[in-house]
Amino acid sequence: MSVVPDTTTKITFTDNNTKFNSQGVQFIINPYDELSLTKAIEIVEKDGGTVAVATVGLIETEATIRKALAIGANEAFRINIEPKDGVLVAQELSALVKTEGFDMVLTGRESIDYNGGQVCGLLAELLQWPSVNVCTKIEIEGGKAHFERDIDGGREVIVSDLPVVASAQKDLCEPRIPNMKGIMAARTKSLKVVEPQNNPITSNFYLFENPVPKQAVRLIDPENAGQLIDILRNEVKIIS
């Protein structure tokens, strides 16, 4: 589970544009990870078992991890290292999966901060498990995992043996909001801090920039809206 800036955050950078400026930023559970968490809870409610949530991050992520426990995860792990890139996160998670012996790992389709969309595949390759990404349906039946996932221009129905790594796409389920009972219970649930493997990094984010702001909009008279088509066709030459 990634901890990311709230979706309404105005993104700015600091330290000569080498770092994301987190000042005054509200952090949340990555929306796609919230879906995978909810789906995991739904699966254990139906089929039994427990849900563990794992985050690669420093101590400031713990308030958000507690929220995941309040939503209904049974226990949590925080691997104590800054999540510098997808490879590092996958390596740390793979070590945890091996020690804890999980049967299935659900991730989000991507995090909404770095949008890598990498961890599902990287982790599955490290574990040598199958992987199914961008799932809109996940069910366990007869000892197998049944999926629907988005593909270019359509949808696909897939069945996989366990263990498997899968990533959540919008539409998978409705995210749950923690209730008071959940929030109280979360206080006493286990949140273990795990020391990192500390593998060498494979990529380095060294500079950031914001998009160049657009020039002032050119307004077209609504009475003469058809003029827009003429401009797009003959002036911008973007339609035929």
Partner: protein
């Protein structure tokens, strides 16, 4: 040596794959570009690749439907045996499920959502979008082998013709633990991620029953249709059409937004579009600050005029 993953869609190489070829060809520095595909392309498709810079095509025997693990095993084996140091993958759904696995199998550095050619003056640095289009990052890829996954529609497709050699090789992986049981394709529709023109509408349309106008305009322009988050949340349109921070991020040449106010989360998903048109009856709608062209007017009055103008 530079390689590309040449995804086959019903025997064809889509535009995103040709973009990968052109990207690789601009990087090759006089050497060749080797494309790897699984299965056999239709007639004429290999020649099409050769027009866009690909000089070798390695056709791996296809023994089963797409599975990321099975495909990775084969691709990693042949990519390594051909001495490929940089692999270019198109960021399609299939590309996304492969690029990460493949980079791990190759012990490579990985960058996804890359939007420009790398700077190789000092190491190997790529520009990629982050924060769902609200920012860009420059990333140094440190390992000897690099996997670069490029966002479709980021590279101008220009012809760079070369001769092409084709090689057929055996599938070396055991059968996978996954099985595709069925596929539903949206027949006759242009996939949103590949569309060069997108016509998108929001709550201003007032109800699912009013989408006929949107579809008519899209049809006339050869465009895909999209929608805002509230519209997919209310079930007026399928979630697969939702563009924005928690939906799909798109980068078409032309994005026409009708009756969408332009919340920051929506703009994040579309702001990389080359030309943006906003149509909204509220002159204060934030979309007008992000648009190149705007019409302050009611969708129900403006859309018929646009449709009539396209029909000429």
């Amino acid at each position: 040596m530079i390689g590309i993953y040449a995804e086959l869609s019903d025997g064809k190489f889509k535009k995103a794959i040709l973009e990968s070829g052109v990207y690789a060809a601009q990087l090759r520095n006089g050497g060749g570009v080797t494309a790897f595909c699984v299965g056999l392309p239709s007639e004429g498709e290999a020649d099409k690749l050769s027009k866009y810079g690909v000089s070798h095509l390695v056709q791996i025997e296809k023994t089963q439907d797409f599975d990321a693990q099975n495909y990775t095993k084969n691709l990693a084996h042949y990519i390594t045996s051909k001495g490929i140091k940089t692999l270019v993958v198109a960021n399609t759904y299939e590309g996304k499920s492969l690029s990460s696995r493949l980079s791990m199998a190759l012990n490579a550095s990985l960058a996804t959502n890359v939007i420009a050619l790398p700077d190789t003056n000092n190491g190997f640095s790529v520009k990629r979008s982050v924060f769902s289009g609200k920012g860009f990052a420059f990333v140094n890829l440190l390992n000897e082998i690099k996997v670069v996954a490029i966002t479709p529609n980021s590279i101008d497709v220009k012809e760079m013709p070369t001769a092409i050699q084709i090689e057929n090789v055996a599938n070396i992986a055991e059968k996978s633990n996954t099985k595709i049981e069925g596929t539903q394709k949206l027949e006759g529709k242009i996939p949103l991620t590949e569309a060069e023109i997108v016509v998108s509408a929001g709550r201003g349309l007032k109800g699912a029953e009013n989408w006929g106008m949107v579809e008519e305009l899209a049809g006339l322009l050869g465009a895909a249709t999209a929608c805002s988050k509230p519209v997919s949340d209310m079930g007026w349109r399928p979630h697969s059409e939702h563009v924005g921070q928690t939906g799909i991020t798109i980068k078409p040449n032309l994005y026409i937004a009708i009756g969408i106010s332009g919340a920051i989360q929506h703009l994040a998903g579309v702001s990389s579009s080359k030309v943006i048109v906003a149509i909204n009856k509220d002159p204060e709608a934030p979309f007008f600050k992000a648009a190149d062209f705007g019409i302050v007017g009611d969708a129900f009055e403006v859309l018929p005029k646009l449709i009539a103008a396209v029909k000429g």
